[in-house]
């Protein structure tokens, strides 16, 4: 054989459509990955009306675990592409999405990023789409909590690193741009003791505190903010994480205003009913998998085996997803989607979220960026 052989996608009309799903089945983000894949399967059922087929062609899924490691994801993507797969979806972690995206562009295959929230996936290249929300949409939702931002004082409390940077920048652009003064308190992601930061926040006396914190230290952080009286003294906004994390907010949970990508009961769409029927309780990242499946089916239907046609079919496409009306913006492949405000109620291990308000996809639309590649 030749070292540069790759299998070509069977062009004949009965050959199955190969779809590769590269996501975290193990590692720190395994539970996100689990929701994603459940959502995907439900979405596939929904979009193909239970046949698992597009026309006569079966959709053949190959699932690969990347364990949250970009190097493994890249290997998996290359393997799939080498075997003729034209559609890759998944990427639970942002780092993975950012490194798989260029592979998709180099090899001209479709890539639909999953729960990875980094803004940088939007506009990454012509072949890269996203099926979840991005950080910017979170921030826009947060803004809705303070009414008119003009003259207000906003503090961002975030981790060091790209995730914190992105959030801080987004708050500066969105809320600062609307007239508020934005400052930030940053802490190392490895911090285990948060009193110094809580003190700094308290001294700043903000009208709104926007917290962007991910990881296992979050409960300790919330407890400290609560103990030092920060939660009582100002409006605190943060993103609502997966259900398993709700009890870990403890007493602080009911004092926080949550912006939410999704929680069970946030919407009442056809898609959400179908999803709920299979997974019982919908969680944060089920909708991302669901939307990814809808996009895959659309791409396969309209594009056949021609990736450029798939891209055209997806660009500008609007569909009814779990969250409501979703639109793929043609210019940069941002996925415009509804976002929610929520409150937690309950105690112990039993918490429920209720929607306060929902914002439409247009209201939370991120600014268009130029397509990079």
């Amino acid at each position: 054989g030749s070292p540069q052989d790759t299998a070509t996608g069977g062009g004949d009309s009965a050959a199955p459509v190969k779809v590769g799903l590269v996501y975290s089945q193990s590692g720190a983000l395994a539970s996100y990955g689990k929701q994603y894949i459940e959502g995907f399967k439900a979405g596939l059922d929904f979009a193909t009306k239970g046949t698992g087929k597009v026309g006569d062609r079966k959709i053949e899924l190959t699932e690969v675990d990347d364990a949250g490691d970009p190097a493994k994801a890249v290997s998996a993507a290359k393997d799939l592409i080498g075997k003729g797969t034209k559609i890759i979806a998944g990427s639970t972690a942002s780092g993975v999405a950012l490194q798989v995206a260029p592979i998709a562009a180099q090899n001209k295959v479709l890539f639909i990023s999953g729960p990875a929230a980094t803004d940088a996936v939007t506009g990454a290249n012509k072949y890269t789409f996203r099926s979840g929300r991005q950080s910017y949409q979170d921030v826009v939702t947060a803004k809705s909590f303070i009414g008119d931002p003009a003259g207000k004082k906003v503090v961002v409390f975030a981790q060091d690193g790209a995730f914190g940077d992105a959030n801080e920048a987004a708050v500066k652009a969105v809320i600062g741009g609307a007239g508020a003064t934005v400052s930030s308190v940053r802490a190392p992601a490895s911090a285990t003791e948060f009193t110094p930061f809580a003190s700094q926040i308290k001294t700043a006396k903000p009208d709104l505190l926007f917290v962007a914190w991910a990881g296992t230290t979050a409960p300790a952080m919330w407890q400290t903010l609560d103990q030092q009286g920060v939660l009582a003294s100002t409006t605190v906004v943060t993103g609502l994480d997966i259900r398993a994390s709700w009890p870990t907010f403890g007493a602080a949970g009911t004092k926080i205003s949550f912006l939410s990508h999704y929680f069970d009961g946030a919407s009442d769409t056809e898609a959400s009913k179908a999803l709920k029927a299979t997974v019982n309780t919908i969680d944060l990242f089920h909708p991302d998998g669901f939307a990814a499946a809808q996009m895959v089916v659309r791409a396969a239907q309209e594009g056949g085996d021609d990736v450029d046609k798939m891209v055209t079919a997806l660009e500008g496409w609007s569909f009814d997803g779990v969250k409501g009306k979703m639109t793929i913006r043609a210019a940069d492949h941002a996925l415009l989607q509804p976002m929610f405000q929520a409150k937690l109620a309950g105690s112990g291990t039993a918490f429920t979220a209720t929607a306060q308000k929902s914002l439409t996809g247009d209201e939370t639309a991120p600014p268009a960026v130029a397509m990079k590649g």
């Binding site: 190392p188 979050a218 300790a220 994390s245 870990t248």
Partner: protein, 296 residues
């Protein structure tokens, strides 16, 4: 003033947590000469043991005596695992330092993965008495009770370990055994027992750290132990391997430096300072602060 006191006391709380992790590490490392990368596993077992007991063990619970019982169960579980690890895995490998590294690294990977396989990757809320969530006003500072609890526990553990090393013959046997196991046996002493005991004590201290760390963090997750471990290692090394008192000093220094630099400097500087401190201490005094191996 209030801020300084708050930072100092919370810093000490952090120091206490580091010390609890480091003390066991230091014993095992300094006395048994085992570079135990699986120490984080003992921590995890202690934390999950407590968590499990509070929910399932009759009589145990998140409050009052039930909580004490739960913690005792967690500590017992951690100790038991440590003993098993020593008996089954480490015992055949004494004086083969490098292979110990392989085994303990393997153990830490496998152990954490096992915890994750059993209870999932997500953090679970940790059972704890309500008063640990409250604060106590000290000179105008609102000091979290969880931190104070850690400080008290650390002082008790320090005292207990010192007493053990000073008043029993085991300290001596272990120190001699590190140098030359064969010769200790040739003096008629069953050196293996002493080493198992060191592991048991190290495991118990780690498990206690895990349980109280759970109280402090409010959650328990599989990776918690490993993330604390790196600072614990730094504390052990700054303090001088095998010196429990040295570890105590070092923990205090590290905790306070982190806390104050994080407040008055820019974020992340605290960590860099601690790491810098480690480098400077070692370059000036390669044997660590306490400087003598295996002293009480």
């Amino acid at each position: 003033m209030g801020t300084v006191i708050l930072l100092a006391l919370t810093g000490l709380g952090l120091a206490a947590l580091y010390f609890l992790v480091a003390s066991g590490l230091s014993l095992v490392f300094g006395l048994a000469d085992v570079l135990n990368f699986a120490h984080g596993l003992f921590l995890g077992v202690g934390a999950y043991g407590t968590w499990w007991a509070a929910g399932n063990l009759p009589g145990a619970g998140p409050d009052g005596f039930g909580f004490v019982l739960a913690v005792a169960f967690g500590v017992a579980a951690g100790t038991l695992v440590a003993i098993l690890v020593e008996l089954v895995l480490i015992r055949p490998l004494y004086s083969r330092t490098i292979e110990q590294v392989l085994v303990t690294v393997g153990l830490s990977l496998a152990g954490v993965a096992l915890l994750q396989a059993t209870w999932g990757a997500d953090a679970r809320p940790f059972p704890r008495p309500d008063w640990t969530r409250q604060v106590t006003g000290i000179l105008g500072a609102q000091v979290p009770n969880g931190g104070l609890l850690l400080i008290i526990a650390a002082v008790l553990v320090l005292g207990a370990i010192l007493a053990f090393l000073r008043w029993t013959r085991y300290g001596l046997v272990i120190r001699a055994g590190v140098e030359n196991r064969e010769m200790v046996t040739a003096l008629g002493i069953d050196v293996r027992k002493a080493f198992t005991l060191v592991f048991a004590i190290g495991g118990a201290a780690a498990a206690l750290a895990g349980a109280l760390g759970g109280v402090y963090f409010g959650t328990v997750s599989p990776g918690q132990g490993s993330s604390l471990l790196i600072f614990a290692f730094i504390v052990v090394v700054i303090g001088g391997m095998g010196s429990v008192v040295g570890s105590a000093y070092a923990a205090v220094v590290v905790g306070l430096v982190q806390q104050f630099v994080n407040y008055y400097g820019t974020s992340g500087l605290g960590d860099i300072c601690v790491v810098g401190l480690l480098a400077v201490v070692l370059l000036l005094r390669p044997q660590g602060i306490a400087g003598k191996v295996a002293t009480a």
